[in-house]
Amino acid sequence: MAERLRPVNVVTVGVGMTGAIMGKELAAAGLKVVGIERGPGRDTVPDFQSPAIHDELRFAIRKALMQDNVKETVTVRNSSDQTALPMRRWIGFLPGTGVGGALVHWNGQTYRFQPADFVYKTHLEQRYGKSFIDPELTVQDWGVTYGELEPHYDRFEYLCGTSGKAGNIKGQIQRGGNPFEGPRSREYPTPPMKEPYYGALFRKGAESLGYHPFPQPASTLSQPYTNPEGLTLQQCVFCGFCERFACEHFAKASPQTIVLPAALKNTNYELRTNCQVLRVNLDSTGKTATGVTYVDAAGREFEQPADIVLITAYAFNNVRLLLNSGIGKPYDPSTGEGAVGRNYAYQTVSASTVFYDADVNINPFMASGSSGTVIDDFSGDNFDHGPHKFIGGAYVGAIMTGGRPIEFHPTPPGTPAWGLGWKQAVARHYNHTVVLTVHGSSHPARHNYLDLDPTYKDAWGLPLLRMTFDFPDNDIRMSSYVTDKATEIGRAMGGKTVASAPRRRPYTTTAYQTTHNTGGAVMGNDPKTSVLNRYLQCWDVSNVFVVGASAFAHNASYNPTNTVGALTFWALDAIKNQYLKSPGPLVHT
């Protein structure tokens, strides 16, 4: 039934950040690569042009750039005894679609994880003893170290042109940067963005309490920059339309601005858009993939044979494709066996809101998605957890991403939820409020997992992914502790009122928190507890690599993109330098 196409060397399922980078690099290495993208093709010109791209109703509220959940969505529940229901409108998180993926509408916040994150279990047990970690949590090591990933972080940051101030270069602490960060081999490619007024207020408040503020690393650029692909990015103009929007200004790192033009110049690379991959095909042994089957926009089914299948979609879709293709053993929470769908984690985000007198003008609309000032004093394992009954932490910062009029309505506690009183409060506080973000780690727990929904199917008749999640006790305790710290900073910033909103249960998808869904196809050293080996290669099917935040064994205190970028280059090196020379498992158990 499906038309069989001419074989190629490599297929990428998805052409977002990871698919675009891997496709470009492997085509440059001489392989025939086909990038298959379910969404439309699009580019800065003509698709991202002002003023149309600043349509807040269309993009921020109606989610014009996001996955079409009429065709494909996820089902959600808080616990195994509930019945999951499909998300019919994206609110809690926003999976992207289309060429460039979520890197088209991201904010550009570009953090590295801590060295301890990659050897998490070993590190925590050494520091706090074996019984310290809540037994509910399935914390484990990643199988790779920060030292191994450092050159790949560096490579991704220099591809993006990330703007920031290093805090640690080869072990030397740098003034003005983050003194807690792991050592970098060199300074950021471009200097930090200018500090907005809300950032300056935060800096002052945080410093008065003895903390260590630094400019948030941003891939919305502080100055023009030409990357190693010869592509030039422009200076950000602080228009305030990054998250949920595409950049018209060539100022935000997206596949369209950092890598895709280089891929498309290479005749070895072919991009196919509006093509939905249904499954990865396996040979009769089930140990080798033969290619993928997809449906194009006209509904025609094709089989694309390939030597290597790279699954490079959004974390959820990576896991779902594995499950729908019968790759790996699905996780069973009742026995703890199986690895596909295991170690799902989210991000534990909370806030403190600082309300000022009417003569302090914040101008929140003057922003990029990542202009702001933050502290790392309470992130990850940067502080002694001994006295506390939790692991993990959060960065705290004044990060205002645009103050757009439909979405940004800060009101102090006690304000009516509607009517004249609400309107008056919004008018009074809109320009005199700073929101402090508490961006916290999320730990995998035995009862949180991803599997296939038994009831609901997508437009092609395949089961949807089902998400079973609620915040573990550990993460709720962490959020309470660090949100209190944020509130203290808010008071030190001179706020008239500081409203504290630590994360509480139950997890709900009806308020936006973050799109940082991670895990479900994690990397590791043990095939019993991981789907991928340390090179992001499937334990069970050695010519399949799964690249994305789905590989995270837990989610650290930071935005995941930079770590996804580092893992992409790390896996690429393994493919180019090891796998191509001798195809087969790169790690033997």
């Binding site: 003023p51 007024y197 003057m366």
Partner: protein
Amino acid sequence: MTRMSRLDAVGAIVGIAVLCPGLTASVQAQGKRTADANHGAVIAAQGASGVPACAQCHAFSGASDSSGAFPRIGGQSAYYLEKQMRDFTSSERVNAIMSPIAKALSADDIADVAAYYANNSGQFPPLATTDAATYEKGQQLARIGDAAKGIQACNNCHGPDGAGIPPAIPYLAGQYAQYITFEIQMWKRGLRKNSPGSMAPIAKQLDDQQIAAIAAYYQQVRGSTSAAVAK
């Protein structure tokens, strides 16, 4: 809504935070003198010590004479006009006529003159039109930029059809083509040093024909918009 939203405005606010770390916004507001547009009008008409009358070149309306040697300044924001005068003082911009004038005026005088011309809504009698092909080329650069060169649309910062995004970003619509061309060439040659992050790299990528097309388009666009509305 007045948008203090662009890059120079960030610089302005950062400057305040750095210079006056102990001050709250209320103290800043109290310490700020209100500009006197009436006094500005006197300087515009009569000049000051060592300063010829502004109106001799820029006219009382700020529309300047039709030669195109002097820019239209009527209706530009006071913030923008003051900043340009400061940049003439600091030699980020250098001009044989304007630099000595800016240096001779006090900060208060500059604020007053800026307030006078900012409040002057400006007159925009239609200027010379260009041929259709040049207009279209200019419009394309203004609206979508040059994708092949990675140059962003002028209107991204300068507002719809170059209407400006005050206070930081000047209008271009109705500006003299000769002035626009001259200033872009100054950036391209590295002689105009303000807006080094945005305007200089853009100017360096534009070729002479593109610069001429942008300039011709903006000179014409305000007139044509008004005419369309009038019809």
